[in-house]
């Protein structure tokens, strides 16, 4: 054991030292570059190019600014008429901010880094968890518990050492968002919650930046470009054209209980992969100057992996009265988005206290009761204790305590509740369990409110849910 710990520590230190040396090297290389608008031509290349040209009477033409290495490296996309040498120059000069280093942000930023986007900022407050890795492709097993922004930045640097990557390990909020976003030309919304989506929309409306917004859940994904302004693109015929923003289409946030999350509802890894890759494609097209007809401006892509359908639907035009993007916006500074959406931007473990202590038992108490009951059942021939698991059927199928029955909380009404009331009357004890001990309290409370006084005491709730069970009773029980 000692040896393992020692090795782990040593490896961590080496890794840290390597990272420091790499960033030192990166900075040195960067400072060595000659004065050049793109910062992409290093001295060696410049000197070589000049010599080469002097020797050659016919003059070798490398394009306007691109050095040899860049032509070679990006040749497969430069070959496309849609990108070309000029497009590549624009990509090398472009600065893109990716908000969220998760299921969308990882694939999106991989393609941006590969395409040679000059500067990429990547924002994420969170750290890498093992459950992220099936879809968050920049993180590896050894990145667990480290900053997602840092982990993503490290991988992106290993993909392209010619570009600048800036990780931001912060929760984006009203105080820091404008400062960070204003350093970039294009923003990618790869976030996972409603408050951050409204925050980014307003940031982009105020800073007049395009917002490439992707989202994914379960088997479905959605994608569109918000806040597009033709006046930034000289290829546009009508410079006054402006696409809708998020608020033009969705002026009001959805009720919090109608919003799903990847941790609660699940997501198939390739689904955000598809959407993230397309976010990168839209960013590349936008940077090289494609016009709004070719971009997902005023259109929403709906992807359903269940039957593999891609559907593009037409959105309403920009609202001339929009609170964020109209000529006379009412939102001129950022507000409190968690309050506006009545939801949290950060997934915190809720710790509800609905029931009073006499209705609650700890995992160890439950274990003892269950052990004792095995003996009593033998002598009594009657099951006296019932465990009611209120998680979804999918979760219940994944893992459960032996003998528990499944009554998902979202079907807790009508006949189902009557069934449970009958059971509470029959048994000595009915214990409600769920993942973390919040839904189980809600369920138990419903039953306590409905049942007659003398049976109220039969109802219990497992404090901390199955996470607590795994922590203090059964180490082999999966935490998810």
């Amino acid at each position: 054991m000692d040896r393992i710990q020692k090795l782990e520590k040593e490896i961590n230190n080496l890794r840290k030292a390597l990272q420091e040396k790499e960033s030192e090297l990166f900075e040195m290389k960067r400072n060595w570059m000659p004065v050049h608008p793109n910062n992409n031509l290093n001295q060696e290349d410049a000197a070589q190019l000049q010599q080469h040209n002097l020797k050659n009477v016919t003059k070798v033409y490398y394009g306007d600014k691109l050095p040899k290495w860049a032509i070679e490296r990006y040749s497969r996309q430069i070959l496309l008429p849609d990108i070309g040498v000029q497009g590549q120059e624009k990509l090398c000069a472009a600065k893109v901010l990716v908000v969220g280093a998760g299921g969308l942000g990882c694939p999106a930023s991989v393609y941006l880094a590969g395409a040679g986007v000059g500067e990429i900022g990547i924002v994420d407050y969170d750290s890498v968890d093992l459950t992220n890795i099936h879809r968050q492709i920049l993180h590896t097993e050894r990145d667990q518990n480290t900053s997602k922004a840092e982990s993503a930045a490290d991988t992106l640097r290993s993909i392209n050492s010619h570009i600048k990557i800036t990780p931001y390990t912060v929760q984006l909020d009203s105080n820091n968002a404008l400062g960070i976003a204003s350093r970039y030309d294009v923003i990618l919304d790869c976030s996972d919650n409603v408050p951050t989506r409204y925050l980014l929309n307003d940031v982009c409306a105020i800073a007049k930046k395009p917002l490439i917004s992707g989202s994914a859940l379960k088997m479905e994904g959605q994608l569109t470009v918000y806040g597009y302004r033709a006046d930034r693109n000289h290829n546009e015929k009508d410079l006054s054209h402006q696409g809708p923003c998020y608020r033009c289409v969705f002026p009001n946030p959805p009720p919090a209980e109608a919003v799903g999350s990847c941790s609660a509802n699940g997501v198939a890894g390739p689904v955000p992969g598809v959407i993230g890759a397309l976010q990168a494609l839209e960013a590349i097209k936008l940077i090289v100057g494609q016009t709004h007809e070719k971009l997902l401006v005023g259109r929403l892509l709906i992807f359903d992996g269940e039957d593999v359908t891609f559907r593009t639907v037409k959105l309403r035009p920009r609202n001339s009265q929009c609170a964020a993007c109209s000529e006379s916006p009412t939102i001129t500074r950022l507000v409190d988005y968690e309050a506006f959406c009545k939801a949290q931007a950060k997934e915190k473990d809720l710790d509800l206290q609905i029931l009073s202590p006499e209705y609650r038992i700890t995992a160890s108490q439950l274990e003892e009761q269950l052990k004792k009951l095995i003996l009593e059942v033998d002598s009594n021939q009657k099951e006296r204790h019932l465990l009611v698991d209120v998680r979804s059927e999918a979760e219940f199928n994944m893992c459960r305590i032996d003998g528990a029955v499944n009554y998902p909380i979202d079907q807790f009404r009508g006949d189902k509740v009557d069934e449970i009331l009958r059971m509470v009357n029959d048994k000595n004890q009915v214990t409600f369990v769920c993942r973390r001990g919040n839904d189980s309290q809600i369920a138990a409370k419903m039953v306590i409110d409905l049942i007659d006084e003398e049976h109220k005491g039969n109802v219990k709730d497992l404090v901390g849910g199955l996470h607590a069970w795994s922590d203090s009773v059964d180490r082999d029980f999966p935490i998810y």
């Binding site: 996972d192 859940l217 959605q222 959805p254 109608a258 999350s261 593009t312 037409k314």
Partner: protein, 109 residues
């Protein structure tokens, strides 16, 4: 007397969870006056359709689909693949064979 109207109804983005997890349905609305005898107009519009959906398809938690006489915020209504705002929203008169989609916006990443 206006005849019945056949529609393709589609639900997505999680909205289908409120409708027995069925994403696509073919429905046939009866003549409007048959369903709403006191109705002042002759043709089905989206406002009427929402009431019909509430009566006939919406089994549980209507507040996660409806708010007042419209859909709740965060659900996009599409009429033949275009935002219903382009067609007068609740007042749009349904045509035979229209595809009406209700898409809940996704927020995960």
């Amino acid at each position: 007397m206006a005849a019945s109207v056949k529609l393709h109804l589609q639900f997505g983005g999680g909205a289908e969870l409120l409708f027995d997890k069925i994403k696509k349905r073919e429905i046939e609305l009866p003549a409007l006056k048959k369903y709403f005898p006191d109705c002042q107009h002759d043709k089905w519009n989206i406002r009427d359709l929402l009431v019909w959906i509430k009566d006939n398809l919406l089994r549980e938690r209507p507040e996660l689909f409806l708010q007042g006489d419209s859909v709740r915020p965060g659900i996009l209504v599409l009429i033949n693949d275009a935002d219903w705002e382009l067609y007068g929203e609740l007042d749009y008169e349904l045509q035979d064979n229209d595809t009406i989609m209700f898409i809940s916006t996704l927020h995960g990443g």
